[in-house]
């Protein structure tokens, strides 16, 4: 414990270095700015700015990405509350009560509560991260290839089945992502796989191109001429953002409970943020004295899901950094960026790159303070940003995507990949497939294959090794339970139809 505090002190030293601080501030600012724009979620924002990280050093790069992440997450809440427009799926729940509050003239208070809830939740998440990560690392050092495989399997399955809609479709998309990861030169034998004789594909599919196709272009394709975004006429000024004493009192315990839900789920690899916010909201409605207030502007319905989203965001970094298993697509992207920078995530990360880990932890706190300081005076600017019409927004974003992908490797071929993945993503979206598990599969795919092959080599081709080793058996057991639960849910589907209906309404 003492050691953790010393390390944290060291982390603040790293995060407060002028150049690191500058990139962190830049990330938070730009993330917030783009996150506010209609239709621009955290994933789009991070993938658009991913190329920028290639030219800067690893520490500021990762601080910037994290800043973009929570900046855009907070920015997304603004759109959800003022415009009923969740650009990042977890905010869909926030819309349910946030938008009615705006209509009742309390939009400013809803934003104020969101800000407090997210700061409180993030702080708790950071504390958990500080004390839990070293413990997890101790366990993780016992992991061999078999254990890494099993935990990845669990993460992939959880990511696939706990996202939106049909679990089967989620699994299908995860497999598709794994297949995208196979493209390129096989590291062990040197064979070119699925490159279709294109030399540009020898190094595999470009992560940035894949993401921008799936989350940028594909989204434009299904949204163009179909969005019915009405410009917001909400006027929010600084003094509106102060919630009344009664509202604060009302929101306090939901905030604490939401934080607990988020922390709990964040520790589980693979559970997405959307499901977390949904559960936090459902919990509040369940224990409320008067559940009928929900959906009509209950402040608890804003505080709890926002708190859960932010604590989950922080806690999510634990498995991502200490095990190398990302919890969702955003974490997969951050992991991908680390790998590109030549840093292998895993138990050795904290000891080998303490500057990254502790710098990141400290920068979270700095970033969250910045968010609070920045958002109060800038709320007028954000409201105006919300009014940028989609017809100007998407061509500009498309251009930034093209230039961004090009600049990664100075390759126009990669820009072509964006178009291809855009079309693939749009087809999947139109058939109601979720696209974010693709990224999870793509990033984990090469690691999974390598560890699987190594595990098989060590066990001389005996598949039973996965259940013979205790830690691995535990993960395999959990995966089996997960599948069994899904099959059971399918068998009992008529009774669950109402729940599913609700889940699909709020989940992406």
């Amino acid at each position: 414990m003492h050691q953790s505090l010393m390390d944290l002190w060291f982390g603040f030293g790293i995060a407060l270095q002028p150049s690191n601080l500058m990139w962190s501030v830049f990330g938070v600012l730009i993330g917030n700015l783009i996150g506010v724009l209609p239709g621009m979620g955290a994933l789009t924002t991070i993938s658009m700015l991913l190329p920028l990280t290639y030219v800067i050093a690893p520490v500021p790069a990762i601080l910037m990405l994290a800043g973009i992440f929570y900046g855009s997450q907070y920015g997304g809440a603004i759109g959800a509350i003022l415009l009923n427009l969740p650009s990042h799926p977890p905010h869909a729940v926030t819309c349910l009560d946030g938008y009615p509050m705006t209509k009742a003239g309390r939009g400013g208070a809803a934003l104020g509560i969101t800000m407090m809830a997210s700061f409180f939740a993030a702080s708790v998440g950071i504390v958990v991260m500080i004390f839990l990560s070293p413990v997890l690392v101790q366990i993780a050092f016992k992991f061999g290839p078999a254990e890494i495989c099993s935990i990845m399997l669990l993460g992939l399955l959880a990511g696939a089945t706990m996202s939106r809609g049909s679990p089967l479709k989620g699994v299908a998309m995860t497999i598709f992502g794994l297949l995208c990861g196979v493209v390129g030169t096989d590291v062990i034998s040197g064979t070119m796989r699925y490159t279709f004789d294109l030399p540009d594909l020898a190094d595999g599919v470009e992560l940035g191109a894949l993401c921008m196709g799936l989350f940028g272009i594909a989204d434009f394709l299904v949204s163009v001429n179909r969005t019915t975004v009405k410009p917001s006429d909400a006027k929010v000024s600084m003094k509106d953002m102060r919630p009344t004493r009664a509202e604060m009192k009302q929101a306090f315990w939901p905030m604490v409970r939401g934080t607990m839900v988020g922390t709990l789920f964040g520790a589980m690899p693979g559970t997405g943020p959307t499901i977390t916010t949904f559960i936090a909201y459902a919990l509040e409605r369940k224990i409320a004295k008067d559940p009928s207030r929900f959906g009509k502007g209950a402040i608890e319905g804003v505080a709890a899901p926002e708190a859960s989203a932010h604590s989950k965001t922080q806690v999510d970094f634990i498995p991502t950094l200490s095990l190398g298993i990302p919890g969702d697509a955003v974490m997969a992207l951050i992991l991908g960026a680390l790998i590109i920078k030549g840093i292998q995530p895993g138990p050795q990360l904290i000891t080998e790159h303490p500057d990254i880990f502790w710098g990141l932890v400290a920068s979270f706190w700095i970033g969250n303070v910045l968010l609070v300081i920045m958002n109060v005076p800038m709320i007028g600017v954000w409201v105006r940003m919300l009014q940028v019409p989609y017809k100007y927004l998407y061509p500009a974003a498309l251009f930034f995507i093209c230039v961004g992908v090009y600049s990664t490797k100075n390759s126009l071929f990669d820009v072509g990949e964006v178009a291809v993945f855009g079309i693939i993503g749009a087809i999947f979206l139109m058939l109601d497939f979720p696209v974010s598990p693709i990224v999870l599969g793509f990033v984990l795919g090469p690691m999974l294959e390598e560890n699987f092959r190594r595990a098989m080599l060590l066990s001389r081709g005996d598949l039973l090794v996965f259940v013979q080793r205790p830690i691995s058996a535990w993960f395999v057991g959990a995966s089996t339970l997960l599948i069994a639960a899904q099959v059971l849910a399918y068998a009992r589907r008529p009774r669950l139809a109402v729940v599913n209906e609700q889940a699909s309404l709020v989940a992406e």
Binding site: S87, T191, R193, V222, P395, L398, F399, Y406, N410, S504
Partner: protein
């Protein structure tokens, strides 16, 4: 979707997965399989191809009958996904990216920028030719200042190759 169709979305999705899985499987057989002990390059892709076909079959079997309770619950402001693609939008948006690739090679950064913004903007039915051109011009200027002079992007402003 009220109108009864021959195939529901889930059936189409199942067919797509089957086709994809089969293609991956067939191509994967071309690489060395090896044994579990010493896996060749083809092992994992072949397994994934089979898994994909399996999921496709499972999806086809469990799919809701066409026209019945299909999930059309988009996020507000995120397109309804229903009723087929918007062809004009698709053509222009994909065309915008392709224009950037082609003109980036045969033309240079500035023509590529202008064309990609202009072409993709024309995909929105509310955009006029003039409006799209003005937007494209503004972004081209922005690109010149920020990406060329500011961040010194490698792509030359004009080139004929």
């Amino acid at each position: 979707m009220r109108r009864p169709q021959k195939l529901g979305k889930d059936h189409l999705g199942a067919l797509l997965l089957l086709a994809l899985g089969a293609a991956v499987f067939a191509l994967g057989l071309g690489y060395r399989m090896g044994t579990l002990n010493r896996m060749g390059a083809g092992f994992i892709p072949v397994v994934l191809g089979v898994l994909m076909m399996g999921v496709g079959i499972a999806l086809g079997v469990t799919a809701a009958p066409p026209g019945q309770r299909e999930m059309v619950n988009p996020l507000p402001g995120h397109g309804t996904h229903a009723g087929g693609p918007d062809w004009r939008g698709w053509l222009c948006i994909v065309g915008g990216v392709v224009a950037f690739v082609v003109l980036g090679d045969h033309g240079g950064l500035l023509p590529a920028t202008f064309a990609s913004v202009f072409v993709s903007a024309m995909g929105d039915r509310h955009n006029t030719v003039k409006g799209a051109a003005v937007l494209a011009a503004i972004l081209t200027l922005f690109c010149l200042i920020v990406f060329h002079y500011g961040l010194t992007l490698q792509l030359p402003l004009f080139q004929w190759t």
